[in-house]
Amino acid sequence: MLEARNISVAYGPIAALRDVSFSVRPGSVCAIVGANGAGKSTLMKALCGLVPLQAGSFHLDGQDITALPTDQRIAKGLALSPEGRRLFPELSTYENLLMGAYLRRDRQAIREDIDKVYGYFPRLAERQNSQGRHLSGGEQQMCAIGRALMSRPRLLLLDEPSLGLAPNVTLEVARAIRRISQDGTTIVLVEQNARLALKLSQHALVLETGRLVLDGPSDEIMNNPHVTAAYLGGHATA
């Protein structure tokens, strides 16, 4: 589905990602975990063409998308729910979802997909005319995920969907992510909440200061002492 080869990104003199390679299998959920500043969000932005690559390439279904501008990558089936939600603050929930379908022209199907999003997140239906900035944190997150779904992506990128959410709301979002995955969308899930991400995913990558340090099945990584070490330090044996 997605293949990243030797990705390096730098902000000026700071290397944010160094030689990261991985692949995502179709239909799976792939978790990317790691502490702050590990380069997770940079990876998402690089995938969408919002930050330039220093080296490396991305291939979507075998096709090289490295040189494409953002809008063409979206057209090829990528969609990102960005870190911090980033709803359009003065557009309504409905309009935010509509923006997600910007590249589509099939009115009827768009209408149906909005209903489908309301199916995943019933709370959004109740608030469809509220402006983005008036939604609660959880509702904003749901709307951001819904907006990303509206382009009918083949690969859905979720950047920190649990950030700043109360535990019960996190749970609601997590259940929706599981359903979206079961409905057939391939997902890359970036999370600081490692336990949650590892539970939701089949496959996981651990990033540490821009480097890929672990890559394997989620349940194995869950029990790897290196993961605890990446977060709390001191016990590292690697």
């Binding site: 809008d71 969609a79 359009f88 509509l98 923006m99 910007y102």
Partner: protein, 285 residues
């Protein structure tokens, strides 16, 4: 009573015209972060387009009005590409460029049409009498057309796909790109739309007042006051502020003195800028 109604019509007319101009001004600031000091010149260009098409070439009024507005919009589209796009993200550079453009456009018009006042024949003559109140028909006409244009603009911005996209780019252009929007296209479109509105206002006012190369200067100042009061980038704020300004002006200049009225509005602008830079109805980002 009679005075009150006549003042109201004049105030409404200028409020709607100001609103058309201020909406474009604030839209451009919202999406491009450019304070366009040349905005008044597009109003002036609209008036001269009317002078040529309707006054000199004898086109029918309606076609001249529409063609004039479209011409000014097209000019805006080209100028955005040639002059303003290079200043994306540089507010000061864009502002200085707009000053240079204002000088150039005024001078160019002076070269072609001289600096003398010109006038355009009224499309409708006479007055409507209701009881003891006389209402000039051409003013009513302007009120009607501007109201129509404002409504069309409202529908465009609030209800259509393009309008939603324009607002989305203004609010967060990076995330708009993530939805597949090519934001430079929206920027060009917005600038053209803003110029079109100013041109339409100028074309409408051409028969009402005399036209001259500096007519845009005063108008851009009004737009500026309205936009600061309403909040830079805020559309409903601009309409409300336009109404407040026009009525205050009409009342103050009838009963007091227009200089004092203008001074007062600038003092309010200063107070708003120091206390709430985001404007009365805007929010700080």
């Amino acid at each position: 009573m009679q005075i009150a109604i006549q003042i109201s019509i004049i105030a409404l007319m200028s409020a709607f015209v100001y609103a058309l101009i201020a909406l474009g001004f604030t839209l451009v600031f919202g999406i491009m972060r450019v304070v366009n000091f040349a905005h008044g010149e597009f109003y002036m260009l609209g008036a001269y387009a009317m002078y040529v098409l309707y006054g000199l070439l004898g086109w029918p009024y309606g076609s001249a009005l529409i063609a004039g507005a479209l011409l000014v919009g097209a000019a805006g589209f080209v100028l955005e590409r040639v002059l303003f796009r290079r200043f994306t993200g540089d507010e000061m550079g864009g502002m200085i460029m707009s000053l240079a453009l204002a000088i150039t456009l005024q001078a160019a018009i002076s070269l072609v049409f001289t600096v003398d006042d010109l006038s355009v024949a009224r499309p409708v003559e006479g007055a409507l009498q209701i009881g003891s109140v006389f209402l000039a028909l051409d003013q009513l006409y302007v009120v009607g057309v501007t109201l129509l244009a404002l409504a069309a603009f409202y529908v465009l911005i609030e209800k259509t796909r393009v309008g939603i996209t324009i607002r989305a780019v203004a609010q967060d252009s990076e995330v708009a790109r993530l939805q597949g929007v090519r934001s430079w296209r929206m920027t060009a479109l917005t600038f053209a739309l803003s110029c079109l509105l100013a041109g339409l206002a100028g074309a409408l006012m051409a028969p009402v007042y005399t036209i001259h190369p500096h007519m845009g200067e005063l108008v851009v100042v009004k737009a500026f006051i309205i936009v600061v009061l309403g909040g830079l980038g805020s559309l409903p704020g601009a309409v409300i502020a336009a109404l407040i300004l026009s009525f205050t002006e009409a009342i103050a200049s009838t009963f007091y003195n227009s200089t004092v009225a203008t001074m007062l509005s600038f003092l309010i602008v200063m107070a708003v800028l120091t206390v709430r830079p985001a404007g009365l109805m805007g929010r700080s980002r």
